[in-house]
């Protein structure tokens, strides 16, 4: 009592497609996060620290453990500005 193989074809397609999207998401997220796992559930502190990381290392996920900041770090703090709307 064998199942005809045509009945299993849709399952093969479904598994393959989910696998493709999952692997693609994994690769693209790792690529965007420089090979690390992506950050999630970030609060204001985390976001602000990541912006500070950006000022020190040049990328949001870059890390450095130097005790002295690179030259010009103390001058590079950006103030977010918006246009006056009234």
């Amino acid at each position: 009592m064998g199942v005809p193989f045509e009945a299993l074809l849709p399952y093969g397609i479904v598994i393959t497609m989910f696998g493709v999207t999952g692997a693609g998401l994994y690769v693209s997220k790792r690529f965007l996060n420089e090979g690390k796992k992506p950050r999630w559930n970030s609060d204001l502190w985390d976001r602000q620290m990541m912006e500070r990381d950006l000022r020190i290392t040049g990328t949001l996920r870059g890390q450095s453990s130097n005790h002295i900041a690179p030259k010009g770090f103390e001058l590079s703090n950006p103030w977010k500005i918006e246009k006056r709307i009234y």
């Binding site: 103390e74 001058l75 703090n77 500005i81 006056r84």
Partner: protein, 164 residues
């Protein structure tokens, strides 16, 4: 066992008698058939339109003598409470550990706050002095806020052409 007088309409009462009750011994029947032996018909002649059927009605079968499956009800009750109690036990311990973890995180942030704040303050003071110097170069000697406090400016003058 079964003896009733049925009033049908307002015409007449017909007594029905159950004389014998036989119980089925078949294991495939889940109810007890009750056989009614009909009464001899002694209908009065005035019963013209609405009358009980001859010999009376059969008894309505309302009872299903099924065997009770499973455990006793209190066993299910106790089992449910045991599962709930175990879950709450685990949950309490999880919440306690979460509280300790958040305490650990908060204290590490508290220890880092002064140095980040000092960094930010130095930056703001630097900008403040830079603004003062620019205002002086333009010949503006005016206090924006009528306060002695240090205030991060809400309005800033931006360069007209941005180089980077």
């Amino acid at each position: 066992m079964f003896n009733q007088k049925e009033r049908v309409g307002s015409l007449i009462t017909v007594p029905t008698h159950v004389t014998t009750v036989t119980r089925s011994t078949s294991p495939f029947l889940d109810f007890e058939p009750i056989a009614l032996t009909p009464n001899p018909p002694t209908l009065p002649p005035s019963c013209l339109r609405i009358c009980p059927q001859r010999g009376g009605y059969a008894q309505v079968q309302y009872k299903r003598n099924l065997p009770a499956r499973g455990f006793k009800p209190w066993v299910y009750m106790v089992g449910m409470h045991a599962i709930m109690a175990y879950g709450f036990y685990k949950y309490f311990h999880g919440v306690r550990e979460q509280r300790e973890l958040s305490r650990e995180k908060m204290w590490s942030r508290l220890y880092l706050t002064p140095l980040l704040q000092a960094e930010e303050d130095r930056d703001q003071v630097r900008r403040y002095y830079a603004d003062q110097a620019r205002a002086k170069a333009l010949g503006i000697e005016d206090k924006v806020y009528n306060s002695e406090r240090f205030i991060r400016p809400t309005f800033a003058i931006t360069p007209s052409n941005v180089t980077q």
